[in-house]
């Protein structure tokens, strides 16, 4: 039986803390998850790219999923990302997420293959029919037709086929691509959750997006919550201020994501450790630069320090 879940607001996607020897820090991860819930996260989503998803082993991903579900303890919904390089792994992770009592899975057809629309369809149907959990898909179109793109037509077919298909993480950040999906999905399945990949929400909220999987929430949860409250109140002036500030943060952090972000979190008193190779760990110079910018943006002064 499909349990309805409510996905709305700036939902937090915790990073994966590592110990100094680069091993997965399960204890730190539980603190990270709890930090987000206590600071108003309306949902927890893990492990997204921000959590170095593809640099975790399948065993680590299962362990993390279990820790997330246990730590959140049903205070808010938990979605588990099951995208991998190999569809067999994704299927395994999806079944595990259900067994671990997660509230939803987020999936995508395996990366790096430039799959055809038919291949994406088959992939999503295979994974979504292997579980009874609500399923979200991840639209990740890159330039020049690369990436994994969900067109409006593909979305329509999947909604038609899958009763447990409840939403889309959209990382197109593009008016036309967004509307191709939303005008089909929101009319076929009212309540279909369109969740922005990063909080580019001012452009999408008026068009029916219900929230975002957060990037900047790891260091600025107060700003995220203020932003969403402004959107809900239709206070566009405040929403613009918040959006432009978040946009600045995204510019700071998108380079070699999530290295800089993890560096800034350490600065805010949350020791989440280094970033696994091939991504770099933020250097001292980079941290100094970040400190200056975060101060200028009034983040260091207004956002929570420590756990």
């Amino acid at each position: 039986m499909l349990m309805p879940i409510r996905l709305k607001g700036v939902m937090q996607a915790p990073v994966s803390p590592m110990k100094e020897d680069f091993s997965f820090d399960g204890e730190g991860f539980a603190k990270m998850v709890d930090f987000h819930v206590r600071h108003g996260a309306p949902a927890i989503a893990w492990p997204h790219h921000k959590a170095e998803s593809l640099n975790l082993t399948i065993a680590e991903r299962k362990l993390g999923a279990e820790i997330a579900v246990k730590t959140v303890a049903k205070r808010v919904p938990v979605s588990i990302f099951v995208g991998t390089l190999s569809e067999e792994d994704s299927l395994d992770l999806a079944r595990h997420a259900q067994k671990a009592d997660a509230d939803a899975i987020l999936t995508i057809s395996p990366y790096c293959r430039r799959p055809a629309q038919e291949e994406i369809y088959d992939s999503i149907v295979r994974i979504a029919t292997a579980v009874e959990l609500p399923v979200l898909t991840y639209n990740s179109p890159w330039r020049n037709g690369e990436g994994v793109e969900f067109t409006g037509e593909l979305t329509r077919r999947l909604i038609d086929r899958l009763p447990n298909y409840i939403g889309m993480k959209d990382a197109s950040f593009h008016s036309q691509k967004y509307l191709e999906i939303s005008r089909v999905a929101l009319n076929m399945r009212p309540g279909f959750a369109i969740i922005m990949g990063v909080e580019h929400l001012l452009a999408s909220y008026p068009l029916g997006a219900c929230g975002s999987f957060s990037s900047s929430g790891a260091i600025a949860p107060n700003l995220c919550n203020k932003f969403f409250a402004a959107l809900e109140a239709h206070d566009w002036e405040t929403a613009r201020e918040c959006q432009f500030k978040i946009s600045e943060l995204w510019r700071l952090f998108k380079e070699q994501y999530p290295s800089s972000l993890k560096g800034a979190m350490i600065m805010m008193g949350r020791p989440v450790g280094p970033t696994r190779s091939p991504l770099p760990t933020a250097t001292k110079e980079r941290l100094e630069f970040l400190r200056k910018r975060l101060e200028e943006l009034d983040i260091l002064q207004t956002e929570p320090h420590g756990w």
Partner: protein
Amino acid sequence: MKTLQPGLVHAPVTPFRRDQSVDYATYAKVIEFHLRNGAEALALPMPEGEDMSLRDGELRELLEFAVKQVKGRVPVLAHVSDAGTSIAVARAIHAEKTGAAAILSHPPYFWHPRPAMVVEHLARIGAAVKLPFYVCTPPVESPGTELMSDMVMQLIERVPNLVGVVDASLDFVFMEEVISGGRRLRPGFQLLAGRDYLVSASALGGNGAVVPLAGIAPNLVRQVYDLCRQQKFLEARGKQEDIAHLHHLVREAGASGLKDGLAGIKCAMAAMGRECGVPRPPVRPLGEVERGRFEDAVQSLAFLKAEPRGW
């Protein structure tokens, strides 16, 4: 320089006769149609006006004709993009002499120069005139170099008459960066939403819009524009979805690998009782079967019932 606020800018198609010459008699009708149906300014010839298919002399003649036809009733914005810097510069100077109200240009066609060279190309076009200057993002899938927000910031610092960006990228991140960063450097810096997607750009603080679908559905475009001006962004959603639906039909029609929509726009204009011929080669018009199917699809759109038929 008094600040130009072009508002709702219609982008007319360019009609051709069977012998491929510009059909000026019909072009006059196109212009009058736009002026009667809510255009606060005209931008021409935009990509939907087949600027690339027109020769240099024709581009100049077309602008001269339009300025004469409009007779100052609304501002005419001249689009002068080209591959070569000097060609675009010369056309910008001509547009200024002809009486255009502003110059629009995007990064050069065809070449893929480094960002610094694109900045140089655009800076020279802007510097060649005293008119307000807008840089445009090229239609997203077009070949050529992308316009990045950093390049816009550099241009603001170099080109005093650069007043804004016409955004066809439809990219949320680009819009956020241009509006917030641009206004820090130049208060009042404008972003005009391109390609009929108004809600996101307006919510972010954009100023106006350049709307190629106005030749088909001027009322719908006007309604979304007015709602956005009143900051009623949620109320605009349904109508913006209608525009997206029409946009989808138009772009999916035809053989263009870029889905440029040129064949679809003209066919939809004809279906609305405004025959403008077919696009110039090499763009293929719709075949007979596809045309029939396309016209049926257009006729079945309930929201087009509220739109003007004929001229």
